[in-house]
């Protein structure tokens, strides 16, 4: 959990809309971040003031009588525009409920747990899905690398002209992560570099591309379909490392990559 995630999610926390896990994450961040703690306090105070101000209107008595009178008229006599209106209402709901009957959609959605595991950004989720798919594709025979070499000076130039960016290619063999090659892949419809490493028998795909989706501050870890993804930003590029190694090792990989990137190597 970082400040950018917290900025949005603290509202869900205030509103009691987070499940226990996310609430704990937000609270843990707030406990260590004075700026976010200040935000939380300010928005809580604002919400309390709004609640105290008793903003709900009272419908005027004449409106209530008018409606009661209108409702007393048998429904058949006021149903002239039924078709067009209902069609448009259904149309607008269909877009969001995939064509369920109105009643069913409402009850299904309302019955769905009141606790929402909030996903900050749908696009990020889609990207994470793409990344896992690309990782799985790469594991099929013959798909892992387009350029196979442990020499970073062969991999890096290979990307020239294939991408608008020059991805950092770093050999981490000495640190326990063997560079085995590179590949061009597509995430969210955009070409990205995939730099492939091996850790024991496990493959790590490091996807590097121009920033996609919401901005990332710090490091973001997630698990999708059993694969760990570590996402961070470096030199204006988005990086996603994905692998079936455990999250701790993947984090170690990311840290060593970053450290090596900022250490001028013997090139």
């Amino acid at each position: 959990m970082n400040c950018a995630d917290t900025e949005i999610m603290l509202h869900a926390l205030i509103d009691g809309e987070l499940d226990a896990g996310h609430a704990r994450d937000v609270e843990a961040h707030v406990a260590t971040c004075p700026a976010c703690a200040e935000e939380l306090k300010a928005f809580r105070a604002m919400r309390a003031t709004m609640a105290e101000a008793n903003l709900k209107e009272t419908a005027p008595a004449h409106l209530r009588s008018r409606i009661e009178a209108a409702l007393a008229v048998p429904a058949a006599r006021v149903s002239a525009p039924r078709q067009s209106w209902f069609a448009s209402l259904r149309e607008s709901w269909k877009n969001f409920f995939g064509g369920f009957a109105v009643g069913t959609a409402l009850s299904a959605a309302v019955a769905a747990s009141l606790v929402i595991a909030v996903v900050r950004n749908d696009q990020n989720q889609q990207i994470a899905g793409d990344i896992v798919s690309a990782h799985l594709r790469s594991l099929q025979a013959g798909h892992l690398t387009d350029v196979e070499t442990s020499d970073q000076h062969t991999v890096k130039p290979w990307f020239n002209g294939k991408l608008d960016v020059a991805p950092p290619v770093i050999d981490l063999t000495a640190q326990g992560f063997t560079l085995i090659g590179g590949r061009l892949d597509y995430i969210n419809g955009q070409p990205v570099a995939s730099i492939v490493y091996r850790r024991r028998k496990h493959v790590i795909n490091l996807f590097v591309g121009e920033p996609l989706g919401a901005e990332v501050h710090g490091v973001k870890d997630e698990t999708v379909q059993g694969f760990n993804i570590r996402r961070w930003r470096e030199a204006g590029l988005d990086l996603w490392a994905v692998s079936d190694i455990d999250a701790g090792e993947l984090d170690e990989f990311g840290q060593k990559f970053t450290a090596a990137l900022h250490t001028p190597g013997p090139s």
Binding site: E7, I8, M9, H11, A12, D15, E17, F43, M46, R47, T49, M50, E52, A53, N54, L55, K56, E57, T58, A59, P60, L63, R64, R66, I67, E68, A70, L71, A72, P74, A75, A76, V78, S79, R82, W85, F86, S88, L89, S92, W93, N95, F96, A101, V102, G103, A105, L106, S107, A109, V110, A111, A112, L114, I116, V118, V119, R120, N121, D122
Partner: protein
């Protein structure tokens, strides 16, 4: 249920349905009216929209299955309001309220329902200021904050009414509160 197939039976059904509808829907009148006040430009339009909402809701009460009557009514109200703005044309979209400061030119229809005497003055002031600031928010943010803070809807319910994903509701609320806080700070600075 009365026997079907006779005119008397149908009439009884209609009456029964209208009665059940009134019992279920009228308790939410204040909520519906409140949202209408924030969606429509003036009180007369808001009242018309509320009445139209209730008539439409009655017509479709047969297909209503959900347990939550309030979001169902508010969704209908929102459709009524949008249809009205569409009918009038683009120059009078709800978002206009945000830009041209007309919210302040609207007659002071806001009335605090019987505040207790000792806090009356302060609360009146706060309430009026908050209403004005909320009314000045752009439409998507305005409706999100009204449904959350005043209508007391859950994120899922707001998502249903506004027809957007829950994630969008969350970000709109975050944005709405940020805008509101900034405007609030300015308003506080302006009043000595």
């Amino acid at each position: 249920m009365a026997e079907r197939g006779t005119m008397a039976g149908d009439a009884n059904d209609e009456h029964d349905k209208a009665r059940r509808f009134r019992d279920a829907a009228l308790p939410h009148l204040d909520d519906v009216f409140t949202l209408a006040r924030y969606l429509m430009r003036n009180p007369a339009d808001a009242e018309d929209a509320v009445q139209e909402c209730y008539l439409r809701a009655l017509r479709h009460f047969d297909s209503y299955r959900g347990p939550a009557m309030k979001p169902w009514l508010l969704a209908i109200l929102r459709n009524v309001c949008n249809a009205e703005f569409a009918r009038r044309g683009k120059q009078e979209t709800p978002a206009d309220l945000a830009d041209d400061g007309e919210a302040e030119a609207t007659p002071p229809i806001w009335q605090e329902p019987q505040p207790s005497p000792e806090t009356a003055l302060l609360r009146q002031q706060d309430g009026d200021t908050i209403r004005r600031l909320v009314a000045a928010l752009p439409q998507p943010f305005r409706e999100a904050i009204v449904m959350r803070e005043i209508n007391d809807l859950s994120y899922t319910e707001i998502a249903e009414v506004a027809g957007v994903p829950v994630g969008t509701v969350m970000s709109r609320l975050a944005r709405a509160r940020s805008m509101l806080r900034s405007a609030w700070t300015v308003a506080e600075g302006a009043t000595p």
